[in-house]
């Protein structure tokens, strides 16, 4: 029986080979697995950060999206993003905060499924452009977003160390 929710942005059931990947919004019970995945991916354990992020993103379905990919009870990846409006004089667009996939499953299509699904969420929220920001040395992540068709946008990020007294 097909779940009617599968047609709703943020929900999807996708096959990759023999694997049936379920995409759905994150719930509070996912946080422990998300924290562990992030730990395996970045080497940094940040439970407070993810808890705060879930509080801000997990319960908003209109403009903030926190999705997970799972097979059975196993978390395979997650993505979050939000619609931001008029920041830096930009028309409303979808920002992807990050996408994370189980390291040994990378380049298998899970990240692309999550990306496509959050695009569906953004489209439903009324935006047609999607952005992200990536550290210059995060080559794999940049390659991933490039493979989704992303190119350099019209903004350049600038920064400086503040001198004493400024």
């Amino acid at each position: 029986m097909v779940d009617a929710a599968q047609d709703t942005p943020g929900y999807n059931l996708v096959s990759i080979g023999e694997h049936k990947i379920n995409i759905r919004p994150a719930v509070k019970d996912d946080l422990a697995n998300v924290v562990a995945l992030d730990d395996r991916t970045t080497g940094l354990r940040k439970p407070e950060y993810w808890d705060d992020l879930f509080t801000r993103y997990g319960n908003r379905k209109d403009s903030r999206f926190f999705l997970i990919a799972e097979e059975g009870d196993t978390l395979l990846g997650c993505i979050f993003g939000e619609v931001r409006s008029w920041e830096f004089n930009s028309v409303p667009c979808g920002w992807v905060g990050t996408v994370s996939v189980e390291p040994n499953l990378r380049m298998g299509g899970i990240g692309s499924i999550l990306y496509k699904e959050i695009c569906r969420c953004f489209r439903k929220a009324g935006v047609t452009k999607i952005r992200t920001m990536i550290p210059r040395d995060a080559t794999d992540l940049m390659s991933f977003f490039r493979a989704q068709g992303m190119m350099a946008g019209p903004f350049i990020q600038l920064e400086t160390d503040m001198d004493e007294g400024v």
Binding site: R136, D137, T139, M142, S143, R146, A147, G149
Partner: protein, 148 residues
């Protein structure tokens, strides 16, 4: 605007042309004709690409070159680096021992770093997606790079 040497540009043309259909074999002259470039120069470039394991020559009737690399893993930087240096240290001509030289080097380094990150993050497969997205193409006007 980044300037690529002719050999680099020819290599990128050849790799992208051949990677578009890995079952297809094209001769140096067929590729050269399509891009209106020197067959002799391209033949030399193809030999270099062959040594790097990106293309292989197929002998016999209908022979030519075909792409044999990994389109998902091979980046633009992998190809460019076969023919020229990218981000090879201080920009030549800038006098490093002066304040102006140091300031100019900071700016040029920033440009180099962005160039390096861009070329490193774009795979041949991503380029093929871009090419398919932009069809119908005009062979001589990719507009991506300028050869010098």
């Amino acid at each position: 605007m980044m300037s690529l040497q002719k050999a680099t540009l020819f290599a990128l043309y050849a790799v992208l042309e051949l990677a578009e259909d890995t079952d297809r074999q094209l001769s140096a002259s067929e590729i050269a004709e399509r891009y209106n470039i020197s067959t002799n120069h391209l033949a030399k470039v193809l030999r270099d690409l062959g040594r790097a394991g990106l293309v292989e020559s197929v002998r016999g009737a209908g022979g030519g070159y075909r792409f044999c690399g990994n389109a998902k893993r091979t980046t633009l930087l992998d190809v460019v680096r076969l023919f020229e240096e990218v981000g090879a240290g201080p920009t030549s001509g800038i006098v490093q021992e002066t304040n102006a030289g140091v300031a100019l080097s900071l700016v040029m380094d920033e440009i180099e770093e962005i160039t390096h990150a861009t070329l490193l993050s774009i795979s041949i497969e991503t380029m093929l997606k871009l090419m398919r997205k932009r069809r119908p193409e005009k062979p001589s006007s990719t507009g991506l790079f300028r050869a010098v």
